[in-house]
Amino acid sequence: MKAMHKFGFGVLLLAGLVALAGCGSSAKKTTGAVVEDRSISRDEMNDIDGQRATTQGIRDADAAGTTMLDGESDGSLSVRTIYFEYDSSNIREEYRRVVEAHANALASRPSQVITLEGHADERGSREYNLALGERRAQAVRRQMVLLGAAAGQIRVVSFGEERPANDGSNEEAYALNRRVEIKY
C-alpha cells in the first residue's frame, strides 16, 4: 500500500510536468466549454494518468512538500486517503497515525493550509451523500484540530458521490469511494 502511494506520487509528478508542458497549447480543453477553467486541475492530471485513486498533484511537487515526506519516518504523511465504512464517519483505528502525522505537520508549519475532500459511495440519494461526504471530512478535521492543527489551516470540501475514485458499482468500488482525500 505504502509502496503504491510512493509509486503513484512519482507517476503523478511526471504527469504533472507533462500537463504543465501542454498548458500553453491546452486551448482545446476549453473550446466549446461553458465553464471557464483555464488552469488544469489536479484531478484532470490524475485523469490523464488514470491514477484517480491517488490524490497528489502538481502543487505537491514543490520543495517544501518533498521535505515533509522525507521527514516522516513511518510514511504516515505519504498516506493521503482515509477510507470509511458504509454510512459512517468514524475514523478507523488504522488511520489514527495518519491523521496524527498530518496534524503534527500542520502544527509545525502554521502557514500550511490543506483541503480535506469528503466523498461517498453512489448508493442512496445524491444530496444526502454530499452531506455524508462533508461529515467524513469534518470528522477528520476535528481530529486534526484536537491533535494540534489550527482550524484555519484546514478547508473542507465535499463532493458526495460525484467524484468516485472507482467507477464500479460493487462493494470493492464502494469501499474505495467512501473516503477523505488530504490535499496539500
Partner: protein, 441 residues
C-alpha cells in the same frame, strides 16, 4: 455572500468572451445528447385510439399525428393504432365511416388538417371523436409556426389526453437532466433541457466538474442547479432562454439542494455555512436568508408543498435518513416515515400535495416509492438497485427518476399506479438527475 457581490460577478462574466460562447451554445441543439425512449411496460387496460394522419401534412418537416400518437402511447393509458392498420384516413367528421372503425373495436379517433396561412405559418384544425357514440367530443383550431410545430403537436396530445381521461396532459412540458461522458478519460458534465419525448435537447451548461440537482422555477424560465466548477458546490440560477445566470450560494461548505418555492420568489437550499448541513430559504428579490433547521444531524433535500406552506426534507436526526415535514414559516417539524425501513430520503411533493415520492432502501436496493400523507399508504414503484432522484410530472401521473442501466445511469419513468414503465437513455454516456418541468402556457 450578498447579492451585490453576485451582481458584480455577473457583470464580470458578461465581459468574458467565453460567456458569449455559453450564450451561443445555449441556442445550439445537441442531437448527440438526445434521449431515446423505450416503453418497458404498458398498462393492460390501455385504451385503443386512432390518430389519423392530418390532411395537408405531407410536406411538413414533422409528422404531427405521429408525435401525438407517440405521446399518447408513452402515457401508458392509450394504445394507438398503427397507421397501416387504419381502414381509412378521414380528416373531416363527415368523412368518418363509423361502422368500419367499430368493427375494429376502436373507441376514439383524432382527425385533423393543416392549412398553410403564410410562409412558415399554419393553422391546425383537429377533432376528438367518440366512435362508439358517433359524436364529436371536442374540436380545436390552433395557429402554429414552422419553429413550434413539434410543440404544437404535444399541445394537441395534451388536449386529446384531457378530453379522453379528464386529466390534464403533460406532453407539452420539458425535462432537465445531467449527462456525463468521457473524452479521452476526462469526464464532461452537461446540463440539458429537452422536450418530454427527448427532442430539441439543448445544453444549458457544460463543465469538467460535476453538475447536480437541477430544479425548475414554476414559470419554466429558470433552472437552479449545483455546479462544482469552482472546486466546491455552489448554487446557480440560470435563465433558460438567454443562458444568463446568477450565483445564489457559494459559501464555505455545502451549497446544495435548491428548490424553488411555488411562487418562484424564494429558493430553499441546504448550506453548511454554519458548520452543519441545514435548510435555509433565500428570498430571491431581497437576498434575505432565513435559516429553517437547527439540528446537529444532516438536514437536506427540501421540497415545497404546492401551497408553499410545508417543506418535506431528509434528516438523520433519528439515527438514519428519514423524511420530515416542516410547517412554513413556523418551523414546526414532524417525522412522516415510520416503519418504512432504515433509509428514506430525497422527498418530492406530488402536484396535489397529498403524496411524496422518495428514495427507499429495500432488500439492499434503493427504490422509488410513494407515501400517502393522508393515509400513510406506501407503494414501491421501481425495481432496480440504484434508483434515485424522483421527479413528478406536473399532472402527477408519472414519476421520472434515475436508475442503473447498461452504460451506467439512465432515466426511467413509472406511472404513479405502477402500471406503466419506460426507459430513457442517451446513445452513449450516462444520463441522471431528471427534473420534470412545469406546465407551459
Amino acid at each position: 455572500m450578498s447579492f451585490n457581490r453576485t451582481e458584480v460577478r455577473w457583470r464580470e462574466r458578461l465581459r468574458h468572451p467565453l460567456w458569449l460562447l455559453c450564450a451561443l451554445l445555449a441556442l445550439v441543439p445537441t442531437a448527440d445528447a438526445q434521449i431515446t425512449i423505450r416503453i418497458t411496460r404498458s398498462s393492460e387496460s390501455a385504451q385503443p385510439v386512432a390518430v389519423v394522419p392530418f390532411a395537408g401534412s405531407a410536406d411538413l418537416p414533422v409528422d404531427l399525428a405521429d408525435i401525438v400518437a407517440a405521446d399518447l402511447e408513452r402515457s401508458g393509458v392509450f394504445k394507438p393504432m398503427p397507421v397501416t392498420e387504419m381502414p381509412d384516413r378521414p380528416s373531416e367528421f363527415s368523412a368518418i365511416k363509423f361502422e368500419d372503425w367499430r368493427r375494429l373495436n376502436m373507441d376514439s379517433l383524432v382527425i385533423g388538417s393543416i392549412a398553410t396561412t403564410a410562409p412558415d405559418r399554419y393553422e391546425i384544425s383537429f377533432r376528438v371523436v367518440n366512435v362508439i357514440q358517433g359524436n364529436q367530443i371536442a374540436g380545436y383550431r390552433m395557429p402554429a409556426t414552422a419553429a413550434n410545430l413539434r410543440h404544437t403537436a404535444h399541445r394537441i396530445a395534451d388536449v386529446v389526453f384531457e378530453q379522453l381521461t379528464g386529466k390534464k396532459g403533460a406532453f407539452a412540458t420539458r425535462i432537465a437532466y445531467v449527462t456525463v461522458d468521457r473524452d479521452n478519460g476526462v469526464k464532461r458534465y452537461r446540463l440539458l433541457v429537452a422536450d418530454i419525448d427527448g427532442a430539441n435537447a439543448r445544453t444549458l451548461l457544460e463543465s469538467p466538474q460535476p453538475i447536480m440537482s437541477p430544479d425548475w422555477a414554476p414559470d419554466g424560465e429558470r433552472i437552479a442547479y449545483v455546479s462544482f466548477e469552482n472546486r466546491n458546490s455552489a448554487i446557480y440560477v440560470q435563465d433558460v432562454p438567454t443562458g444568463n445566470r446568477q450565483v445564489v450560494a457559494s459559501g464555505e461548505g455545502i451549497n446544495s439542494s435548491p428548490a424553488f418555492s411555488p411562487d418562484g420568489r424564494r429558493l430553499a437550499m441546504t448550506l453548511s455555512r454554519d458548520g452543519n448541513p441545514e435548510i435555509y430559504v433565500r428570498d430571491l428579490d431581497s437576498g434575505q436568508l432565513q435559516r429553517l433547521t437547527a439540528d446537529p444531524a444532516i438536514d437536506t433535500e427540501a421540497s415545497w408543498s404546492p401551497d408553499g406552506r410545508r417543506l418535506a426534507f431528509t434528516s438523520d436526526r433519528g439515527g438514519g435518513p428519514q423524511i420530515y415535514l416542516m410547517d412554513y414559516p413556523s418551523g414546526q417539524v414532524r417525522r412522516v416515515t415510520f416503519d418504512k425501513g432504515s433509509y428514506n430520503a430525497r422527498p418530492r411533493f406530488a402536484p396535489d400535495g397529498d403524496m411524496l415520492a422518495l428514495v427507499h432502501q429495500n432488500d439492499g436496493g434503493y427504490r422509488i416509492a410513494v407515501l400517502g400523507l393522508k393515509d400513510d399508504s406506501f407503494r414501491i414503484l421501481s425495481n432496480s438497485k440504484l434508483d434515485e432522484s424522483p421527479s413528478f410530472a406536473p399532472n402527477g401521473q408519472m414519476i421520472l427518476y434515475a436508475t442503473d442501466g447498461v452504460l451506467g445511469t439512465e432515466l426511467a419513468a413509472v406511472s404513479v399506479n405502477g402500471r406503466v414503465r419506460q426507459r430513457l437513455a442517451v446513445p452513449y454516456g450516462e444520463v441522471r438527475e431528471p427534473a420534470w418541468g412545469p406546465f407551459r402556457e
